[in-house]
């Protein structure tokens, strides 16, 4: 019997093939079998399926067996059931068919009964002779068709030309046969699968039946998977396994809450074997047998299932899929194992899991090498390695293989033997050691274990890093650290821990950081690193996240370590301040004098929060001070003037203002106080968003949309700096040569406030640098450098200051009066020795004397200063007097030069004096008489009052004046509140004599009203010119002839008469009538030129018509008289202007007699009068 041995097929797994039975002429078929078996898989065939399932292209294989009528309707075993039945015959003789063959076929057909998946193949031998003949009327095939065929089955009858006998001619028919066979096989499968699935569903529905058995069902559904696998539909086969997986998982999980079905007890049996899974395409028959026999343990079942699932994934070249499933399977299995409570040797599960992971890794490596899925694989490998490592660690712990553990006990050794036995033998003839070999080896000795563990861990960490899972990598780093730590290689451990610690701190995982610190501190203890131990203890003691007991313990540890270890050292141990303390604020205490002066103490107030759980003695707290870069050039600002009005007359300081120009910027930038919270960038989320609601309208004014708009998105959407995580680089100790310091503090937990002092020695600009807290004399906490914060101060040397001050600073200096002044000397920060003299020199006109002794006033004064301690002031009262100068200037400038022994150049003190009073004069005329009026007025800002006596006016030449002033003039007072004094004199001279220019001098004696004493003279001289009266103008208004009165709106006559009263060269004159246009209307010309006879004294008269516009007492129109200078046409060179011009007279030269005259104008005549007149 030919065909395929079932046993072998099962063993090879993949070699399940559709079974086709052959009836009829077996010998004939045997000749055809080989080419047929070879031909079927050569091409794919489309598999159309019912229920709308996707059409797949499938490659088929087939195995043929001899027809056996008993096996036609075998049980619902998809694999062993023949799928297609073929009847072979080569009968060509119709007679033979009728007599024998027909009966045979009929029997076969009847046996098949309901089975419709059959074919009848008639094999013909190609006969060349036949072709030429006419085709026979009926062939055997037609007969068969006629006998057995119905409509639907017509295509199941096939003739084929025997390819063995005539290969060339048979190709066509042969191909058609093969295609038909493929097609019918698939059709048959479609039918039977539908039937099978129905049956399967039925079975599944019964799953809550107490008698239902999962194992049985598993084997049933697996058949479907096998068939799908056989057809090359691996993904669909995988679905079957996944369904089974899910079903099983659900049962196990439910068993936990509800009563578990009976069949589940199978899987509760003790686990005896934990062989590694083998990821091959082969069906692990051994495990399958166990499942069939219901002797599979949970691990066996899971192994089998995982292997099958992997097998389905292998051809699709997705190793990462296998890897990811491996992990889930391992996790699920371990949970299930626990849930089912299957007893097993401790560590068996771990063994199995480790092997599963390792095997999967090996398979992935093998597969990934073949295709380009390396990257995808790596991502999945890392967790596998992680898990393998963890499981190995678990095993190592169980078997006492971890470093640092004592030698394995006999029980542990026994366990190793048990575990190794359970793993079974690894497959033979492998060049590389299999995971089973490696695990066994690792369990045998500590060194091997170590080697394997480190290999896995390093690989896992590296892979995690490679795929960017740094947190996982650090987690493994921590495991490695503890492993190395146990190994005694604490140094390596510390590296891993520090790396982890940094990342936890950066991202604010305080609990994790605290935990890592605890591990680090243990490592430090092991390493005998007292420095590190102390520092870490301090930090741990300050960690709020930890239990207070732990913190207290480490606080004690820290103190103990300082006492026992660090005290031997000469240097202090430096550590970071931020971890144990928090600087809240640092502020400089303002100096009493406004500036910080050398040799004085500068104070700084520091607020610090201590996180330590208990009080700690701080032997010294200090803030380093950094000198700012030197100012560019030390310049002395010379002659620095202070405004007199501001109170100080003069100030000259030595150095405080020195260098001010150079370092102006720095000074403005320095601040004196800082809260460290202020330095943090403001949380942008707190800022209010600049948004506003907007309504948008359509053209027809209806609302289109309402929006919320952000006006300035740039502000809101600003990129945040990445500097947040940047840790300040390790702090180095600044120089504490110059520092604020205080000793012997006690720092309580919580807020502490204390003052540090710095004796300022040098002057200059200083900034606060670093803060240092020295605890128990050995542990020094250093803060970050505060330089960036610009907290600073300026120390100056204050030199001697000399001021010349007014005693009454609010009063202005007035010339001609004695003023009380004082010379103020402040010693600053220096001593002034005895017999120091200051020399004062004044400008001319300024006199000075000591206030006490009534000696004469001098222009030079030498003042002795008493000896002085620093910051003392001495005052020397002085009297100052500025002589009056006969100038009319509003103010007088004087200077006092101070010569001091402390500095070289003279100091200039500018002084500013006001004159006590100002005189103004006027010349008054009455016809030809002349009067002089002098007015005195005071412009001093503050109130001064002067009593005036002996007012005098003196004129030169023979002119005399007659005093018109009352004789009680000694009571005259002039004051700066606006009180003025006026004096009047008449010039006594012959009015008809032409007088030349006149010099006059007014003098008066004054004394301040408040002070009794001698009066001082005040004088003022002035020139009087062109004062003789030349012309007298008279104006007269007369009503028109016939009228008695002047009436409004009636013409009047204005008569001007001009009379010369003195000799003059001006004969050509112009008059102008300047009438107020609201009162007068001048008819005709208002101006004219008249020529006066030079010798004649007769008055010239001009008459003008004017009309008063209103009634009442109206002032007469005024007349202006000017010199008329005719255009000089004869000599154009002499006079540039070719036009005539006017020149005014001096005030006293023309006397207008009618100036103040008024005329009475009656209202206009009533109208009745006007009408009556003609009558």
């Amino acid at each position: 019997m030919k065909g395929v041995d079932n046993l072998i097929a099962d063993r090879e797994g993949m070699t399940n093939k559709p079974i086709v039975t052959c009836a009829g002429d077996w010998n004939l078929f045997c000749t055809l079998e080989a080419p047929l078996v070879a031909a079927i898989p050569q091409d794919s065939c489309e598999w159309r399926r019912s229920y709308g399932r996707a059409t797949k292209s499938v490659y088929l294989e087939a195995s043929f067996i001899k027809y056996n009528k008993d096996k036609v309707l075998s049980e619902l075993n998809l694999l062993k059931k023949p799928i297609l039945h073929i009847y072979w015959t080569d009968c060509v003789d119709i007679e033979y068919y009728k007599t024998t063959l027909r009966e045979d076929i009929e029997t076969w057909h009847k046996q098949l009964d309901a089975v419709t998946d059959w074919m009848i193949v008639l094999v013909e031998t190609y006969d060349i002779r036949k072709t030429n003949k006419l085709l026979p009327r009926t062939t055997v095939l037609d007969k068969i068709k006629g006998d057995f065929g119905v409509k639907q089955t017509e295509d199941r009858f096939i003739t084929v030309i025997n390819p063995i006998k005539s290969e060339a001619r048979s190709a066509e028919s042969w191909r058609s046969l093969v295609a038909k066979i493929r097609h019918f096989i698939l059709v048959a499968y479609n039918k039977s699968l539908i039937k099978f699935e129905e049956h399967m569903r039925e079975q599944r529905e019964k799953r809550n039946d107490p008698e239902w058995d999962f194992c049985k069902y598993f084997i049933l559904q697996e058949q479907l998977a096998f068939v799908l696998e056989m057809l090359g539909l691996y993904d669909e086969a995988l679905v079957q396994y996944d369904e089974l997986d899910a079903l099983f998982s659900q049962f196990v999980l439910n068993s936990n809450v509800t009563e578990s079905p009976k069949w589940l007890d199978t899987f509760k049996q003790p686990v005896t074997s934990w062989q590694a899974v083998r990821l091959t395409a082969l069906v692990p028959q051994q495990l399958r047998e166990l499942i069939i026999k219901r002797k599979a343990s949970l691990l066996d079942f899971r192994s089998y299932l995982f292997q099958r699932q992997s097998a389905m994934l292998l051809p699709s070249s997705k190793p990462w899929e296998i890897a990811s499933r491996c992990l889930t399977t391992v996790h699920n299995t371990l949970v299930e194992l626990q849930l089912l409570g299957a007893s097993a040797v401790e560590g068996a599960a771990a063994c199995w899991a480790q092997l599963a992971c390792a095997e999967t890794l090996r398979a992935c490596e093998r597969l990934a090498a073949n295709n380009n899925a390396l990257d995808m694989c790596t991502a999945m490998q890392a967790p596998l390695l992680h898990n393998a490592k963890d499981k190995l660690h678990e095993l190592g712990k169980l078997c006492g293989l971890l470093p640092g553990s004592p030698e394995p006990s006999s029980e542990q050794l026994h366990l190793v033997v048990m575990l190794s036995a359970g793993m079974g033998d690894s497959e033979a003839n492998n060049q590389h050691p299999t995971p089973t070999d490696r695990l066994k080896e690792a369990l045998c000795s500590k060194t091997c274990f170590q080697q394997y563990y480190l290999e896995l861990a390093e690989l896992a960490m590296g892979t995690y890093k490679h795929i960017g899972r740094l947190r996982f990598a650090r987690l493994i780093g921590r495991d490695l650290a503890s492993f190395y730590s146990e190994l005694g290689e604490t140094g390596k451990a510390v590296v891993f821990l520090m790396d982890a610690l940094r990342s936890y701190e950066e991202q604010g995982w305080k609990d994790l950081a605290a935990q890592t610190r605890l591990e680090l501190v243990a490592a430090a203890k092991k390493m005998n690193d007292a420095d590190r131990y102390t520092k870490l203890s301090a930090t741990i003691a300050s960690t709020a996240e930890l239990e207070i007991l732990v913190r207290n313990f480490y606080f004690e540890e820290m103190m103990k370590c300082i006492r026992e270890e660090l005290s031997k050292k000469t240097d202090t141990v430096l550590t970071e301040l931020n971890e144990c303390f928090k600087i809240v604020s640092a502020s400089l205490v303002p100096s009493e004098r406004g500036v910080y002066i050398t040799d004085n103490t500068v104070q700084c107030r520091l607020t610090v929060i201590s996180f330590l759980p208990r009080e700690v003695r701080c032997s010294k707290a200090a803030i380093s001070i950094e000198h700012c870069k030197d100012e560019k050039e030390k310049k002395l600002v010379k002659g620095h003037k202070t405004d007199l009005a501001s109170g100080s007359v003069a100030s000259q300081t030595n150095s405080p203002k020195r260098g001010l120009v150079g370092s102006d910027n720095e000074i403005t930038n320095l601040i004196t106080s800082i809260r460290l919270d202020d330095l943090k960038p403001k949380n942008p989320l707190i800022n209010p968003l600049q948004i506003s609601a907007q309504l948008h309208y359509k053209e027809d004014r209806s609302l289109q949309k309402a929006t919320v708009e952000c006006q300035n998105p740039k502000v809101t959407l600003k990129r945040s700096d990445s500097c947040k995580y940047r840790k300040p680089s390790a702090t180095s100790r600044s120089s504490y040569e110059n520092s604020f310091a205080v000793e012997g503090l006690t720092l309580k937990p919580g807020t502490n406030e204390f003052t540090l002092e710095y004796p300022a020695k040098k002057c200059g600009m200083f900034k606060l640098g670093q803060i240092s807290l020295l605890v128990e004399e050995k542990l020094e906490f250093l803060s970050n450098v505060l330089i960036g914060t610009k907290v600073g101060f300026e120390v100056v040397t204050q030199g001697v200051n000399v001021y010349l001050n007014k005693v009454e600073p609010k009063k202005d200096l007035v010339a001609g009066l004695e003023h009380a002044m004082e010379l103020v000397v402040t010693s600053g920060s220096s001593h002034i020795e005895e017999n120091t003299t200051i020399l004062l020199k004044t400008s001319s006109g300024l006199l000075i004397r000591f206030a006490e002794d009534d000696c004469a006033m001098l222009r030079e004064l030498s003042i002795k200063i008493p000896a002085m301690e620093p910051f003392q002031t001495s005052r020397v009262p002085l009297k100052l007097f500025a002589t009056l100068q006969p100038k009319k200037e509003k103010s007088v400038e004087h200077t006092v030069w101070l010569t001091c022994p402390w500095w070289e150049p003279l100091t200039e003190v500018p002084l500013h004096f006001y004159p006590p009073m100002v005189a103004t004069w006027r010349l008054l005329t009455s016809n030809t008489r002349k009067f002089v009026n002098v007015t005195l007025k005071s412009n001093v800002v503050h109130l001064v009052q002067f009593a005036l006596t002996e007012a005098k006016l003196e004129c030169d030449g023979n002119t005399t004046v007659s005093d018109l002033n009352p004789k009680t003039a000694e009571h005259m007072v002039v004051a700066s509140d606006g009180t003025t004094a006026s004096f009047m004199w008449e010039l006594q001279k012959d009015p008809l004599v032409k007088a030349g220019p006149l010099k006059a001098k007014f003098s008066v004696h004054y004394r301040p009203l408040s002070v009794e004493g001698a009066s001082r003279p005040f004088s003022c001289s002035f020139d009087i010119q062109d004062y003789t009266t030349l012309f007298v103008i008279r104006t007269k208004l007369e009503p028109t002839k016939g009228a008695d009165f002047c009436r409004a709106s009636q013409m009047c006559c204005l008569q001007l008469s001009l009379q010369r009263v003195n000799e003059t060269e001006y004969t050509s004159l112009m008059y102008e009538v300047l009438a107020d246009q609201t009162m007068w209307a001048v008819l005709g010309r208002t101006a004219g030129v008249i020529t006066m006879e030079s010798n004649g004294a007769e008055p010239q008269t001009v008459t003008l018509d004017v009309m008063p516009l209103v009634a009442g007492y109206l002032p007469l129109p005024t007349v202006r008289l000017s010199k008329y200078i005719a255009a000089n046409t004869k000599d154009p060179k002499k006079d540039i202007s070719a036009h005539p011009r006017l020149e005014p007279f001096s005030p006293g030269q023309v006397y207008h007699a009618g100036k103040a005259k008024q005329v009475h104008v009656l209202p206009p005549m009533p109208k009745e009068h006007l009408e009556l007149m003609p009558n």
Binding site: N254, V257, L327, H331, R469, R471, L512, L685
Partner: protein, 155 residues
């Protein structure tokens, strides 16, 4: 249902970590923090792939992915399963279930999704407090109580 719930800020620092359940040597508050911390790796990986998908051709499918804030199972260990959820402002919510406890082992994806959505709502409520600065740790006892309720409610 859950043994631990964590709210993690945009900068990957924890804003809130709450856990229930009795502490044992292998399962305590600290160990859960490690789980949450490492979950960030998986979470960021997930976010990164979502982003790259978005630039790719089938942006339509990716967009629906993006809209779904629930990221599903991030990773699992022998004893725990860690699920992730990320808000549009990149606040990460992490939920840890224990596979050893009867309630945790049998949990459905949909339940986790609902729980995380509720947590998101609670977080939004807590953030609405005008005295809470975004980016600060959440200290509200009410929030804590409600979160613990979520963790226990679905038992």
């Amino acid at each position: 249902m859950a043994v631990c719930v964590a709210v993690i800020g945009k900068d990957n620092s924890p804003l809130y970590i709450g856990g229930v359940g009795n502490d044992t040597s292998s399962d305590n508050e600290l160990s859960r923090q490690w789980l949450v911390h490492t979950a960030l790796d998986a979470l960021e990986e997930r976010l990164a792939t979502t982003n790259t998908n978005n630039t790719g051709t089938n942006s339509n499918a990716a967009r629906t992915d993006l809209r779904d804030l629930y990221l599903g199972l991030l990773y699992s260990t022998d004893t725990h399963k860690i699920y992730g959820y990320v808000t549009n402002t990149r606040i990460k919510l992490v939920l840890v279930t224990s596979s050893t406890s009867p309630s945790g082992s049998n949990i459905r994806d949909a339940e986790v999704r609902t729980a995380l959505r509720r947590l998101h709502a609670l977080y939004a409520d807590a953030i609405c407090n005008p005295f809470h600065l975004p980016g600060d740790q959440i200290t509200s006892p009410k929030f804590d109580k409600q979160v613990k309720n979520i963790m226990l409610n679905n038992v």
